[in-house]
């Protein structure tokens, strides 16, 4: 008791920190805060704030130079949306202290080398952009910047390197030109022209197989989904045509021109791009997401064109703001809405476009899906008079274009829209979408509405769905999520399993033991066997059916009830599903009983995998089975499959981590032993001690061997899972293609589009894992004999890495 009182007084660990901070740390925190916050809303102008801060920092240089260098290098890397604010600051400091300017440039080059070595290519882009803007601030001499760019572009001449490597170097140069193009052209136009024509040549010969896999819409209209380098090139071309006049970027250094042009400039040291290393992970190519143009914002400022450099800069900055503030949705929303220069652009449209661009990005959004939902809600709260309307307009637009939207992106749209609606009492003008009622239910529009209502129901309840849509939509309302117990149906008494279902049901209710229940189940006839040979537990589908249906029926009340049931009767269930057929049949029974409640099916399958009643391959085989063909395009099928693959992946990773930890432990132990032996060379205990530690080592080595085996077996299971999935896809797609060919029918049905995009989705969502097994996949499955339509998907996937 008394101990508790003492710790209460201490109030956790915080008190110590507050009392004993030494002066230097306080000042460093202050410096950090001052630098990070410059440029934010203030009563004084940005220029006077920068002037003031430059003065403060100059005064602190003698004592805190290294700290200031570090902070400035960090903000260059981590706050790219405030690039020009900080380059101006560095410019002012350089004007006051030439040596500091030189040291900063050196520190930046060191940081650049580090980021490249650590595969932090996105951050490296920001650093290079920062350096290039320092040319505008008279910190770096233009010719030396041009020289660095020339070295970057020369990477396009390298042979036998992945395309994504040279792509990156081209990107980094082109994406800096909006900031520094004018200055570089003024000083070195001949060199720049030569540079750009080299880029043009590279872009022409570049391979773009990857593009179809990354496009959100397959249609070219209304907005082509352009490959990112092609789009950027068009933007730079246009900028060049406009004689590098760029009016959007906020350039505080212009106000200080008279001071800055007096400063002495530094030359960048010659910078050779690091050579290609086999473990380098260059950024994947992208497709530019566009959904709005100048016709969409009804009043107010006009949206810059798709090939204007302003569009590029705005989108870059908005992406950077989200990257910086995603963890704090209120700040993120506020920062987005206070974008400098917002009065000259239809900011709400840009924000909505950038957010959806990220949400729909392939292979995966940069941040968690749900972040975007809550960010949009915060934005609606801050701009209740304008943002909701833009969002509604965007939703309407996306609904209209569902026919050509990528299936994976449609899924994300379904999840976003239903979650969003659940925060706004499901209010929506459903009547506007009544066109979806006049086409087949398997077409994209009615399918979308159906899935939205299903997801919405999960967040509310069935009657709510009936209430919120017009009566004409009744065909799209999901089924009531109730259990279907076959042994209580109309003519259930004539079913072969009926009598035992009653007995076993009562047994469960009366808390019979597992043995008792097993003996009851022995009475279930086996439709698979002709004679009465009870040779142990051969696969008896009826037994599984009777037991599982009855058990799940009794536990149907809630997820928790069902989970308890699975746990309580785990032994029986495992016995029943020892064979692969047993596992498959179990899944079939779960589906039959709960087919009106896909959410329940998903959580039950999850539990059954985690408790090893079924395995991942069984789930994959079940989903692709003929019995499930009619559900194949429903969202819940793919949620289950991807969740299953993720569980498999996590399982492998977990054992790998255990193995690494055991190896580390052994190494440490061996080092320690060597150390001790050195210390106590003359001790008589030496022999005993050595024997003890040898035993310990032996135990660990055994453990490592066991873990190694476990890892290998898990990886084998993982590889097998992917093989099963890909094989099934190939079978299904080939069947369809052959059938269409012989019948001279167009292959492009809604089903085909959905199926081929699901195949793409497997590659995209699990590309890191699949990469390990590329050799096997290529040798066994994705061979040249494969139908070109299917092989194309594999080739697109490979193109992402090249």
């Amino acid at each position: 008791m008394s101990r508790r009182r003492h710790s209460d007084e201490n109030d956790g660990g915080q008190a110590h920190k507050r009392r004993r901070t030494s002066e230097p740390i306080e000042i460093e925190d202050r410096l950090e805060s001052l630098i990070c916050r410059v440029g934010e809303k203030s009563t004084s102008s940005l220029e006077s704030n920068l002037e003031g801060l430059a003065g403060v920092l100059e005064a602190d240089l003698p004592n805190y130079k290294n700290k200031i260098l570090r902070i400035l290098c960090s903000v260059a890397r981590l706050l790219p949306e405030k690039l020009t604010v900080y380059t101006t600051l560095v410019g002012l400091l350089n004007a006051r202290n030439y040596n500091f300017g030189g040291e900063f440039v050196e520190a930046m080059i060191r940081q650049l080398k580090e980021t490249l070595k650590n595969n932090l290519y996105n951050e490296a882009v920001y650093l290079i952009r920062f350096l290039s803007d320092l040319v505008n601030c008279h910190v770096i001499a233009a010719p030396s910047m041009v020289a660095m760019f020339e070295n970057f572009i020369s990477v396009t001449q390298e042979e036998d390197v992945p395309q994504v490597r040279s792509d990156w170097f081209v990107y980094v140069v082109l994406s800096s030109l909006p900031w520094v193009g004018k200055e570089l052209y003024e000083k070195k136009d001949v060199e720049m022209d030569r540079l750009l024509s080299q880029v043009e040549g590279y872009l022409k010969r570049r391979v773009k197989t990857h593009v179809p896999m990354l496009q959100v819409w397959t249609a070219e209209k209304p907005h082509p989904q352009e490959e990112y380098l092609d789009c950027l090139w068009s933007q730079i071309q246009k900028l060049k045509k406009d004689r590098w006049q760029e009016r959007h970027i906020l350039r505080p250094y212009i106000a200080f021109d008279s001071v800055l042009c007096e400063a002495l400039q530094h030359n960048l040291p010659p910078f050779t791009p690091p050579g290609h290393m086999p473990d380098a992970q260059y950024p994947m190519p992208q497709v530019v997401f566009r959904m709005f143009d100048y016709t969409d914002a009804p009043e107010g400022p006009v949206m810059p064109g798709s090939h204007s450099v302003e569009r590029f800069v705005i989108e870059e900055n908005l992406h950077c703001i989200i990257k910086t503030h995603w963890k704090e949705r209120k700040s993120c929303a506020a920062q987005l809405l206070s974008y400098p220069g917002k009065n000259k652009i239809p900011l709400n449209y840009h924000i909505v476009e950038v957010i959806f661009g990220e949400l729909f990005q392939l292979p995966a959004p940069p941040h968690l899906d749900v972040m975007y939902t809550t960010l949009l809600i915060e934005l609606c709260k801050l701009q209740p008079g304008s943002l909701p309307q833009v969002l509604a307009q965007a939703t309407e637009m996306m609904y209209m274009r569902l026919d050509t939207m990528n299936t994976t992106c449609i899924d994300r749209l379904i999840n976003w829209f239903s979650h969003h609606l659940s925060n706004f009492q499901f209010r929506w003008s459903w009547d506007d979408w009544s066109d979806c009622l006049s086409v087949d239910l398997d077409k994209p529009k009615p399918k979308f509405v159906k899935e939205v209502l299903e997801k919405s129901m999960r967040l509310s309840y069935h009657q709510r769905m009936v209430d919120i849509v017009p009566p004409t939509f009744s065909a799209l309302i999901p089924a009531e999520p109730i259990f279907i117990y076959k042994y209580m149906a109309e003519s259930a008494s004539s079913l072969p399993g009926y009598p035992v279902s009653i007995t076993v049901g009562n047994a469960i209710k009366n808390r019979a033991s597992n043995e008792e229940i097993m003996s009851i189940l022995k009475d279930v006839p086996n439709p698979n066997q002709e004679d009465d040979d009870d040779e142990g537990e051969t696969f008896n589908p009826l037994k599984i059916d009777v037991f599982l249906q009855t058990l799940l029926h009794l536990a149907a009340k809630s997820f928790s009830h069902s989970f308890s049931a699975l746990a309580k009767f785990h032994e029986i269930l495992k016995a029943l599903t020892e064979s692969d057929e047993g596992k498959l049949h179990m899944l079939k029974v779960v589906y039959e009983a709960w087919r009106n409640h896909p959410q329940m099916i998903a959580v039950l399958v999850d539990k059954m995998i985690r408790t090893q009643i079924v395995d991942c391959a069984a789930v994959a085989n079940w989903l692709f089975s003929q019995d499930m063909a009619h559900e194949f395009t429903r969202l819940f099928i793919w949620e289950i499959l991807h969740s299953t693959i993720r569980k498999m992946n996590k399982h492998v990773q977990k054992i790998q981590v255990e193995l690494e930890e055991a190896k580390d432990k052994l190494e440490k132990q061996q080092h320690k032993r060597l150390g001790l032996v050195h210390q106590q060379k003359d001790s008589g205990d030496e022999e005993d001690m050595e024997k003890n530690s040898e035993d310990e080592d032996g135990q660990l080595e055994e453990q490592i061997d066991r873990l190694q085996e476990k890892v290998e077996s898990a990886q084998s299971e993982q590889k097998n899972l992917f093989l099963v999935i890909f094989q099934r896809f190939i079978m299904l797609l080939t069947e369809h293609l052959v059938r269409c060919e012989t019948g001279s029918v167009d292959i492009s049905t809604a089903w085909y589009k959905s199926c081929i995009e699901r195949l793409q989705e497997i590659f995209l969502m699990h590309h890191v894992t699949i990469h390990q097994y590329m050799g096997t996949l290529e040798n066994l499955l994705f061979t040249a004999e494969l139908d070109p339509h299917i092989l194309a998907v594999y080739q697109q996937f490979c193109a992402l890495q090249l």
């Binding site: 101990r3 508790r4 710790s7 209460d8 201490n10 109030d11 956790g12 660990g13 925190d29 950090e32 805060s33 990070c36 916050r37 570090r70 902070i71 290098c73 960090s74 903000v75 890397r77 981590l78 706050l79 520190a107 940081q111 580090e114 980021t115 910086t324 963890k327 704090e328 949705r329 700040s331 968690l368 899906d369 749900v370 972040m371 939902t373 809550t374 809600i377 999840n415 979650h419 659940s422 925060n423 009492q425 997801k455 999960r458 967040l459 509310s460 309840y461 809630s558 997820f559 928790s560 989970f563 959410q599 329940m600 959580v603 999850d606 969740s643």
Partner: protein, 164 residues
């Protein structure tokens, strides 16, 4: 390489709140430690009618949910407006604090907070009437949480103005 900046690392949505479970078995230090490592969230301001399924759907958006325990009235054994959500990974719980806390479930703004971990018995309301303490003293009428607060509903309407 330059270090991370404290000023830029704000993640306030995942901070521990001021609330501490007074029935926690252990000292303050233990409680703080458990809260900082916890994978479990307390979820409050639920409607009495909110189901485990609804909670599961919403909270699965931030990661795989290990289990949900619906809070029950100690007397009636019916849902009394709170629950615990336990994740397999703490990172997923943190995402829930950032993106689910303060949004709506069943039309109500719900609140999430770190919990030191579920223990048998903690699924019961601690109010005198069996529900949550907050529902004992509540003055407003909330149809999704049994109407008036327990104390308020015991005092006849005419006298309510004269109390306090």
């Amino acid at each position: 390489m330059s270090a991370k900046l404290n000023a830029l690392n704000s993640d306030s949505y995942t901070d521990v709140s001021q609330y501490r479970d007074q029935h926690f078995k252990g000292n303050r230090y233990d409680q703080e430690k458990l809260l900082k490592q916890s994978n479990t969230l307390y979820v409050g301001n639920l409607s009495f009618y909110t189901t485990e399924e609804q909670v599961h759907e919403l909270f699965s958006k931030s990661g795989d949910v290990k289990r949900i325990i619906i809070g029950l009235d100690k007397v009636k054994k019916t849902a009394c407006g709170f629950c615990f959500v336990e994740y397999y990974m703490r990172g997923d719980a943190e995402h829930a604090m950032r993106f689910v806390n303060g949004t709506r479930l069943d039309d109500r703004i719900i609140r999430t907070d770190w919990d030191a971990g579920f223990k048998e018995g903690r699924q019961h309301g601690r109010g005198k009437s069996g529900g949550q303490v907050r529902d004992e003293y509540r003055q407003d009428y909330d149809p999704a949480r049994g109407g008036y607060g327990k104390l308020a509903s015991q005092i006849p309407a005419a006298e309510q103005r004269n109390t306090f």
